[in-house]
Amino acid sequence: MRTDGAFRHWACIYDSDQQFVQTAVPFLAEGLAAGDPVLAVTTPAHLELISAALGPRGGEVDYAESAFFGRRPAQRVAAFYRYWKNHVGGRGGNGGGVRILAEPVWAGRSAREIAAWTRMESALNVVLAPASISMICPYDTRTLDPDIVTGALHTHPAQITGSRLSPSADFTEPAEFARSCDTGPLPEPPDGAAAFPFDGDLRGLRRFIAGRAAAYGVIGDRADILVLAVSEVGAYLKNSGPGTAAVRTWEQPGAVVCDFRQPGLSIDDPFLGLRPARLEPSAGDGLWLANQVCDWLEIRSGADGSTIQLQVPSRHDQEMAAQPGLRYRG
């Protein structure tokens, strides 16, 4: 199978370890034989299976446990992009591509998270389109909710079994798929949310959110991250439309939320905030950065305007405290 050129994205739907190995191992071994960078992102159990099957060559495979290779969808996209860029992206278009086996974590996720990860699987087809990456995403029918497996057929243009590729008849055009994920409204700000009438004054916006962060007990690096994300969203809105937005912020269990509502602004790009920023500037770079450092960044756009809502951990989050040196929950 060819792996050069642009992004290729295949689902491997399997129901036994043997099936998993029969697809994953030849894919990785071919890449090693060709001298291409090869990355396996999966469960510790599957990393062991792969390692045993590859034998001594297994030591050449780059690997990561899924849970730690991009904690959230936007970071996962960035992690794939970074791997590609670091290995072949800077060497022009003549080299071979990279191969990535990428098995997401689904167990224990909320419905909201499952929707976001499924949406990301679809978005990869567009956001990584220029990258010479061949990616197989394994889906284990023994453990996954059938809806998640069905989702994989909508989000991957083809399925792979062993080395046999078959087009996925259910594949949905990614922009259409993303919009179908974005139909539900975002939560309304609660009564008592702190409000700021943003008129394009980014310094004022930063002072407002820094003050609120302190009031919610979000301090230090976490406050800096929130200020950064909010300011970048404000800059995007300032540059994209009338430049005035109702900004509201509140604390809810586990999170500080900041909500921007801009009447009259239409946001048509469903992949805004997912395309990795580069030195060549592109609209949405600031939203991408905000998306990297927040737990959530969601966008809705309709006839009456656009809403952007972001969320960072509250002062009760202990993950960062448990990992000294971590500057944001990434």
């Binding site: 960035a78 970074r82 860029k85 980014l202 310094r203 930063r206 002072r207 820094a210 003050g211 609120r212 962060a213 302190a214 009031a215 301090i219 230090g220 690096d221 406050a223 800096d224 991250i225 200020v227 950064l228 300011s231 970048e232 800059a235 300032k238 540059n239 990795p276 920023a277 580069r278 030195l279 060549e280 500037p281 770079d285 600031g286 950065l289 990297q292 450092v293 500057r327 944001y328 990434g330």
Partner: protein
């Protein structure tokens, strides 16, 4: 170090430094101060193979401002998009606030050819915006 102011709008203050040759930047960098930053960078790089930027006093820097600083290297990716400054050069960042280091790493610009972070000079930052107190008080 001798210095003289090259830009000061009350929010962003940039002074030129001669030892080492470059700029000391203080204040907030966002789109309102961006033109001043870019002008100061352009004025300071002509004919220089090396530029030193002290960022200890930067309390906020948005992504666009950081890009302008990184592109002072004249890296190819900046040139192709028309955001470059001509010839390539070394740009050494001193006393870089920790948050700027974080953003450089997230966006991957820390590995831009020609860019160097003075390893001894990572700054805890100049203090935060009003209300955003620090965790711990050792710094």
């Amino acid at each position: 170090m001798t210095s003289c102011p090259v830009y000061d709008d009350g929010v962003l203050r940039i002074t030129s430094t001669s030892h080492p040759p470059g700029l000391a930047i203080e204040g907030e960098i966002d789109e309102s101060t961006y033109p001043g930053l870019v002008q100061a960078l352009q004025d300071s790089i002509s004919g220089r193979a090396e530029l030193h930027l002290s960022l200890a006093g930067v309390s906020y820097c948005d992504l666009a401002g950081l890009r302008a600083i990184v592109c002072a290297t004249g890296a190819d990716d900046c040139e192709t998009s028309g955001n470059g400054y001509g010839d390539s050069r070394r740009v050494i960042l001193h006393e870089v606030p920790a948050q700027i280091v974080t953003v450089l790493q997230i966006v991957g610009w820390d590995s831009t050819p020609g860019l160097a972070l003075d390893p001894g000079g990572i700054s805890p930052g100049p203090g935060r915006l009003p209300g955003g107190g620090r965790q711990g008080s050792a710094v």
